[in-house]
């Protein structure tokens, strides 16, 4: 503990430290000799492509993928062409750039995903060098070809190849180059001897780094910082120039006294860096060159690879991995020898407290006197976040917790969150997981990405634990993990459909945001249709099941699911799909089992394809509907012959449907139509299309009594109707004499009250009164009242002694007519 500063080295007025991350789990023979190595930033995986030890035509290179701690994830024999460069995408996919310009993409587990080419011309000219770079647009690739031309793409997911302009007079491989991403533009910076050029989309511009004297020789190596802000150039005279990537300012220049080209040169910075530096690596020397012209030198005892991070440099060697970084200011404050910073005092106080020494109190007092206790706690918490060693983290957090006890209004939020985060980080750094990320990187990556990375590595239980531990809402955390897990699970070829479906449903249950149809789609992609159908059964939203079922050609099932969903649009989608896929007979049969779909299709046919509708009914032997169809059609028809023949078809169908009523009615209709035509032709009566009753009315009003009689007989018009007809038509004509005769022709089936009423309707009181006497006793009061004979009504009412009638009369008597009122009231009273 006391030796925390043991691995610190001063650089200028600050310190650098080298922390050991892992004893590597791998065993590499000969280190990285004859190997292409790619290590992803943010503690990502490492890929090693090793040339065969014995070169023979049959031997192939070996590609290994390791976690950052050296645990083997995948190992395969490279069977494709010669590889120029390896690189990782932001999604942890491995890019292998071949000499012929083909880029092969593998996932973490060495499974081939896809490939693309960097252009046709490269096949001949070959790729000389390639670089993988990251920008806000994603992961990009830049290559320089045998004809010294540059081609790049800024995002391999959305491949657009850009061939950069030619560099005038370039006849050899540029001595060094790199990709810059600035001002939303991607450019290439290259050096040829002592000259430098910037290539962008359209032009090639010569540039001169400010303050770099021409005597310093030609530029043989260059490096840009993680954020593309700073640039470092190394010349063949051993000079190191640093400045802004825009080449506008110079930061420093330093003579390294090394004339060999360094194997790697990487910027080493951190947020709020006091003293950024450039790390250069030679075979057995690691040189940290600060901007203050100060340097640190480390001896290297094994071949290594430098990995630039946002807050340091990882040094990956064959046996161990170290993190080189500037010591964060807060850690310097606390751990610097003889530091009097509040955090340092608090740490000391806590240490004394644990020893049960009263010095603890002295230290505390000292902090409190300066009222710096809050600051002290904060420092301890912040420093803990930056420490890599759990025991150091613990002692700092304990000190913070101790100090917190003496504060009343200190918000515990930062303390709690750092505690949680450290726990998560420590779990990730564990060699078995092998993601050595710092707290700053964690903040930069965000938790979402972190969980995604765990999921890609298939550390599902850990991911779920973390989600639970950090209390991430289910649909953001656990569900996403489960979704990925399930998609992966369905690809396991050694398990039966049944077992997988059970496992998936058991785990996923009804977690929000996990879509079974998504998982099923994955299963289908792997050719496991049965499994996909099993999984779809668990999908609660039938709407989501349908598209996949259609893709799997399970159209029947799709149709019933669509119907279940209650979404008509979906049903219609399936129906129109089926219509095109199936022959007509099968299509109709399918619909027959799905009434909802059938009625939808019928609706459609009614408006669009009436003939199909007929076929549909025919297929179903639905004679009733078929008959209705003919009847409907008959009304759209103008010509009488066609109408009648359509109606005849309807009659046939009605008969088949054993609907004798409708058959009879339709036959009557045909008869009526013929009758009307005959009269229209003979008399020009204009009857076509009228109802039976209207026809009779017209006939009567035209005085065609004989024909009306015929109608009455032929269509068996009920007596009542006939009497009503005659009554109204005679009254309409004002033929009162005929009406009187008619009324006496036989006993009226409708009674005589209608006679009274109809006469009154024509304001013929005289005629009306004639019929009053013939009205049945029950309706007499009404009849009297209808003709306005209150006295007569009163007499009848009193005679019949019915309350309802008496009050009906009373309501009509004018109030001035006292005697009648009294008589009626008496009668009413007498009854009671």
């Amino acid at each position: 503990m006391a030796f925390i500063t043991a691995n610190w080295s001063p650089l200028g007025d600050t310190f650098y430290r080298k922390t050991e991350l892992y004893e590597m789990c791998w065993t590499l023979r000969d280190g990285f000799k004859d190997s292409l190595v790619a290590a992803a930033p943010y503690g990502g995986p490492i890929a090693v492509l090793r040339e065969p030890i014995r070169r023979s035509p049959s031997s192939r290179p070996q590609l290994d993928i390791f976690s950052a701690s050296g645990v083997s994830i995948a190992s395969l024999t490279w069977k494709s062409g010669p590889v120029v460069h390896l690189g990782w995408t932001v999604n942890d996919e491995l890019l292998c750039i071949q000499e012929d310009g083909t880029v092969l993409i593998y996932d973490l587990f060495g499974t081939f995903k896809r490939h693309f080419s960097m252009g046709q011309e490269v096949v001949q000219t070959h790729v000389l060098e390639a670089k993988v770079f990251h920008s806000p647009y994603g992961t990009g690739i830049a290559i320089v070809t045998g004809s010294f031309r540059f081609t790049l793409t800024t995002n391999i997911e959305d491949l657009k190849l850009r061939r950069l302009p030619e560099v005038p007079g370039l006849q050899e491989k540029p001595s060094s180059w790199l990709v810059l991403s600035q001002d939303r533009q991607t450019k290439v910076l290259l050096s040829v001897g002592s000259e430098m050029f910037v290539l962008d989309n359209t032009s090639c511009t010569a540039v001169v780094p400010p303050g770099l004297s021409p005597q310093t020789g030609s530029i043989i190596h260059m490096s840009v910082s993680f954020s593309y802000k700073y640039l470092a150039l190394f010349t063949d005279t051993g000079h190191l120039w640093t400045g802004s990537a825009h080449l506008q300012d110079k930061l420093s220049e330093l003579d390294t006294k090394q004339t060999v080209t360094p194997k790697q040169m990487v910027w080493c910075r951190r947020p709020q860096s006091q003293q950024p530096s450039v790390v250069l690596m030679w075979d057995s020397l690691l040189l940290v060159a600060g901007l203050s012209n100060d340097t640190i030198q480390f001896a290297l005892d094994e071949s290594s690879v430098l990995v630039g991070e946002m807050d340091g440099v990882r040094i990956v060697g064959a046996t161990r991995q170290e993190l080189l970084q500037e010591v964060p200011l807060v850690c310097q404050d606390i751990f610097k020898i003889a530091s009097m910073a509040p955090g340092a005092l608090l740490l000391e106080a806590h240490r004394e407290y644990q020893k049960s020494s009263q010095k603890a109190d002295e230290y505390l007092r000292e902090i409190k006197e300066q009222s710096m206790l809050g600051e002290a706690v904060r420092q301890c918490v912040d420093a803990a976040a930056h420490e890599y060693d759990p025991s150091t983290q613990k002692s700092l957090m304990r000190a913070a917790s101790f100090g917190k006890c003496f504060l009343t209004d200190f918000s515990p939020d930062s303390f709690v969150s750092v505690c949680r985060e450290l726990r998560v980080l420590n779990a990730l750094r564990d060699a078995a997981v092998g993601q050595p990320i710092t707290h700053d990187q964690y903040k930069q990556l965000t938790l979402q990405v972190l969980i995604d990375r765990l999921v890609y590595r298939q550390f599902y239980p850990l991911a779920i634990e973390i989600c639970h531990y950090l209390k991430i809402p289910d649909f953001l955390g656990v569900s996403r993990v489960l979704k990925h897990w399930a998609s992966c699970k369905v690809q396991q070829k050694d398990l039966s459909d049944e077992a997988i479906a059970r496992a998936v449903c058991g785990k996923v249950g009804d977690s929000p945001g996990v879509s079974y149809s998504h998982i099923a789609a994955k299963a289908f992609e792997c050719g496991r249709t049965e499994l996909a159908i099993k999984l779809l059964d668990s999908e609660p939203r039938s709407g989501d099941q349908v598209p996949l079922l259609l893709r799997m050609k399970r159209s029947q099932l799709a149709l019933s699911k669509a119907v279940e969903s209650g979404d008509t649009d979906l049903v219609y989608t399936v129906v129109s799909y089926l219509k095109n896929e199936m022959n007509r007979g099968d299509f109709f049969m399918t619909l027959r089992n799905q009434p909802v779909a059938l009625s939808l299709y019928r609706q459609f046919c009614k408006l669009q394809e009436p003939d199909t509708l007929k076929d549909l009914y025919n297929q179903d032997d639905d004679h009733q509907e078929l008959a209705n169809f003919y009847v409907t059609a008959s009304y759209k028809e103008q010509r009488l012959e066609t109408r009648v023949s359509l109606l005849q078809s309807a009659v046939d169908e009605f008969n088949k449907a054993r609907n004798d009523f409708c058959a009879k009615a339709t036959e009557d209709e045909m008869k009526l139509l013929r009758f009307q035509r005959k009269l229209d032709e003979e008399k020009g009566a204009g009857l076509q299309g009228l109802s039976l009753q209207a026809t009779a009315e017209v006939l009567l009003s035209l005085g065609l009594h004989k024909q009306a009689e015929q109608l009455y007989r032929d269509f068996r018009i009920p007596d009542k109707r006939y009497w009503w007809l005659k009554l109204t038509s005679l009254a309409d004509k004002g033929d009162w004499e005929e009406l009187d005769k008619f009324s006496k022709s036989k006993k009226s089936p409708i009674g005589y009250l209608p006679f009274v009423e109809v006469c009154m309707k024509h304001n013929n009181k005289y005629e009306a009164k004639k019929y009053v006497s013939r009205v049945t006793p029950e309706q007499k009061v009404k009849a009297h009242l209808a003709v306005g004979d209150v006295h007569g009504a009163a007499d009848v009412a009193i005679e019949r002694r019915l309350d309802a009638e008496i009050s009906a009369v009373l309501s009509r008597v004018s109030s001035s007519d006292r005697p009648i009122i009294e008589r009626l009231q008496r009668a009413a009273a007498a009854k009671k």
């Binding site: 008509t568 409708c662 109802s691 018009i717 009503w724």
Partner: protein, 614 residues
């Protein structure tokens, strides 16, 4: 008002927000087509649109000319055409024709179709089929609800009824579910949802699904506590009865359209008709709308006398008082005067029309049908009605009412009435009868044998899983009304030992002169009281089942909002039902919000089923 009311009714939520949202959305859509444009509007969208955005608003957003969609060739010189339509195949086909005609004539224009409340896949398919998919842009205006009054919201979708119940088409259920979602989002969370009927059940399920997709509602005080969803085909009797409550009567006679009625010159007693908004803003109307018609006249004359007294105050005032009177009271009095004379005019006109047809006789017949007395007399009455050709729809209404109350007509009557009807109104009504039969509105009583055969086959079908759906969807085919049994179980027809005083209503039956408690409203009352369907098992069986009650958000049970109940009628509701619910709310301290696919009455219901439909 004469109701013995509870005074602690909770306050209704404010629905004006719905209007604002819809209007903003429309303006946004119009702005999507910048520049001058001609707007074609579906005929039945005209009145609802007018309630949302008037012509001035439309002009402000560069609508040049307004046309009604008439499915004819168009005469417009505009560079841009915008169509605001319901998603109907015919209309879309017409637009395709318009576009293709323009293409043939070499006219270049921009076209935009705004479907409301949503587009259907079939419409887009048609556009594609006709080769104009690329020429038109398509949008959706989610105009789901039109607030007709403080407590009435309408979807203005009359075709919901025929599409869902007659054609067996479920396309509108999603829309209904969206209505629930909207109301839940704005005024929820609902603590309890009850419902009955196939459509209700599906609507509810669809809504639950959308609920799961969305993130949790924020903690919020609910403004609507409970929801009751009911299918129209659960109760056909109520909308088929003659309405005798003032608002219902006005609707039956003058037809209220979107909460607005057009009184003819016979009402205004001048040579000009007048359009009047009928809602709670109208002080006179709001007092008589729910009253039995027999009280209205007396009430109005009392009101007139009061008004006279108020006017008479002027006498003996000094200048200062007169000034105050003129500035403060006169305007209100004038307004009241105007409304009063209008409603008196309307009442007179109603009286005239109704006595002419012997309204009392008609009501008596209806009542005996409801009570199940004097079957033969009712049949004779209907026959006479048909023979005298009183009205196509009225005759049909009586036949249906009789069939419903008698659980179908006896074979002999069934045939003879139908024959009579066909002779009077034409044979084309064979198709009408086919529709009525399908809905179970006019049916033949099954003799014992056929019934069991039928039930056996249905039973077999139900056992089979896929076919179970079949019998589900077409259960209406085998549907019986069971009105008699329901009436007994729920005592829908009160015992009429004594005279029913219509001025002091005792129960909801007052809306039908004390002869019948509307089944739909009775169900709502019972379910709310029992907090579910417990004890109503047999009733549900008689109603073909599909009942449900689901507890949602259990929080805040004691809340005021729990007494605010949203009733969603799928397939329409009548003004009488709204009046009955208003009565119930006074009685039990609830507040009801009625949401309906459209306001309906007997004529609208039956006209939709006449043979010409489609």
């Amino acid at each position: 008002m004469a109701f013995s009311s509870r005074t602690d009714s909770p306050k209704l939520p404010d629905f004006s927000m719905l209007k604002r949202l819809v209007k903003d959305h429309l303006v946004y859509l119009l702005e999507q087509l910048p520049g001058k444009k001609d707007l074609f509007i579906d005929a039945d969208l005209m009145s609802p649109l007018d309630r949302i955005a008037n012509v001035t608003t439309l002009k402000e957003h560069e609508v040049d000319k307004l046309y009604k969609v008439e499915l004819k060739a168009i005469v417009s010189t505009a560079q841009q055409l915008c169509f605001l339509i319901r998603p109907r195949i015919q209309t879309v086909k017409w637009i395709c024709d318009v576009v293709n005609a323009d293409k043939a004539a070499g006219i270049e224009r921009k076209y935009k179709i705004i479907f409301t409340p949503q587009k259907f896949y079939s419409c887009e398919c048609l556009l594609e089929d006709q080769g104009v998919f690329g020429d038109v842009s398509v949008d959706e205006w989610d105009f789901l609800l039109l607030p007709l009054d403080d407590d009435v919201l309408s979807m203005e979708l009359p075709e919901f009824f025929t599409d869902s119940f007659l054609a067996g088409d479920q396309r509108w259920l999603k829309t209904a579910a969206n209505v629930l979602r909207l109301l839940h989002m704005l005024y929820g969370p609902f603590s309890k949802v009850y419902g009955i009927g196939r459509c209700s059940k599906m609507t509810h399920e669809l809504w639950r699904e959308t609920l799961e997709e969305e993130a949790e509602l924020k903690e919020r005080r609910a403004e609507i506590g409970k929801v009751f969803i009911i299918d129209r085909d659960v109760d056909f009797v109520t909308p088929l009865c003659s309405q005798v409550v003032y608002e219902g009567l006005v609707d039956d006679i003058f037809r209220i359209k979107c909460g607005c009625v057009e009184f003819g010159s016979d009402v205004t007693s001048s040579d000009k008709g007048v359009k009047v908004m009928l809602n709670s803003q109208d002080a006179v109307f709001s007092e008589i709308r729910n009253q039995h018609f027999s009280n209205v006249f007396g009430f109005l004359s009392q009101k007139a006398r009061n008004l006279q007294t108020a006017y008479d105050k002027r006498r003996g005032m000094d200048i200062r008082q007169i000034k105050a009177f003129v500035s403060e009271e006169l305007k209100g009095l004038k307004q009241e005067h105007r409304l009063l004379s209008l409603h008196i005019g309307a009442s007179e006109s109603i009286m005239k029309k109704k006595t002419k047809q012997d309204f009392q006789e008609l009501l008596k017949t209806e009542h005996s049908m409801l009570e199940g007395f004097d079957l033969r007399e009712s049949i004779t009455y209907i026959e006479e009605h048909i023979i005298r050709q009183v009205s196509v729809v009225e005759s049909l209404r009586l036949m249906c009412l009789l069939s419903l109350t008698e659980n179908g007509l006896q074979s002999k009557d069934y045939r003879s009435l139908k024959t009579q009807y066909l002779q009077s109104y034409g044979y084309e009504h064979l198709l009408t009868f086919s529709n009525l039969k399908q809905l179970g509105l006019l049916t033949e009583q099954q003799t014992g044998d056929t019934l069991t055969v039928m039930e056996n086959t249905v039973g077999k079908l139900v056992n089979d899983r896929t076919a179970g759906k079949l019998s589900d969807a077409f259960s209406s085919l085998a549907k019986k009304s069971n009105f008699r049994a329901l009436s007994r179980k729920l005592s829908l027809v009160p015992k009429c030992d004594e005279e029913y005083d219509l001025r002091v209503p005792r129960d909801m039956s007052y809306i039908f002169s004390g002869a019948y408690v509307p089944l739909s409203c009775k169900l709502i009352e019972q379910v709310l009281r029992a907090d579910g369907w417990a004890g109503l098992e047999e009733v549900c069986k008689l109603l073909n089942g599909h009942e449900f009650s689901v507890t949602g958000n259990p929080k805040g049970d004691q809340d005021e909002a729990q007494r605010i109940v949203l009733v969603l009628f799928l397939g329409g509701c009548s003004f009488s039902e709204i009046s009955a619910l208003r009565f119930l709310s006074k009685e039990k301290g609830y507040r009801f919000i009625v949401v309906t696919t459209a306001i309906t009455n007997s004529s609208r219901l039956l006209e939709a089923l006449l043979r010409n439909h489609q």
